[in-house]
Amino acid sequence: MWQRVNTVIGANPAPDLDAQLMLRVRDGDEDSFRVLLDKHRNPLVHFLYRMVQEQAVSEELAQEVFLRIYKSRLSYEPTARFTTWMFRIATHLALNWLRDEKNARGQERLDEDRGGDLPAREVADRKPSVEQRMVYQARLQEVRDAIGKLPEKQRAAVLMHKYEEMEYAQIASVLGCSESAVKSLLFRAYETLRARLAHMVTGGPL
């Protein structure tokens, strides 16, 4: 029985502390929800930001994710790792938003909007010259474009693998496909990125 439960929860045999917190939320403990919110807010917003590439939208979507989690608390059962469930909701919302946005505005308008989101923290920390800033922004824009042009599933897989450091099994669970399909998705995605960023890659990293 214990083995079956572990299999259901995920490949990692360690107890899922987030799931335990969520069970407390189910029992009416709002403080546990605050802990979950504080713990996962940044990774979730960052993942969504890299998916949709608009800061305000990524925060709205992240709030919708947490709201759905909160509303589902009474029927919550830890049948999967909490983060798998959370990223599954987030990916679903992000893909829906991208499709709606694509239909509503077209890809060209989306590309224009991405130009407005500049990472102010980078500028403040490094204090680069104007020229360095412009070069940095131009190269960063190329990275964002290269990822933004990946097919949606490949993009989600790369972001979860690269930035969230998720295991193949967990990515597979989020995307609803097999582990080998995830490996294949990632391989193709990185091949594409290598080709698109070749001119930057040969000169070294940003």
Partner: protein, 169 residues
Amino acid sequence: MNMICPLKSEETIDVLLDYSAGRLEESRRTLFEGHMAHCAECAAFLAGQTKVWQTLDAWEPEPVSMDFNRRMWQKIDAAAAAPWYRKLADSLRLGAWKPALPLTAALVLVAAGFVMDHQGAVPAAPGVASSAGVSVTEAEQVEKTLDDIQLLRQLDAAAGAEPGSSKTM
């Protein structure tokens, strides 16, 4: 111990991805480094992948708004104060009914089986379908009887018309 080139199988392609990410476990890493020493393809792939990886590192997201939690709790409070039909619609949208789906399907199957099993035992209503079947049979029998009577009368008449016939029939 040799290893199969990771580039030749999708199943083992994770070795390359994990190595460039610094996530490959010790035993596999040693094995892969032994392979890479004489596999130019893997070495070239790895060099490119490592640089892509480093390039992607530069993309840092913006910090999350300071009032994120406050807005979050406002939404939660608004959801709690929503009317019952909105909450019902939300629970349906969120799939809270999904766990009940197998049970519902099983109940429907049992009910269908019960109805089919007891259909023959249901007494026929004094109405349309079953009584129509009986009345068709009865009509045929009445019609045949009338035909027989008419035939007997014809025979009787014919016998009466013939000379020397008996009246005993």
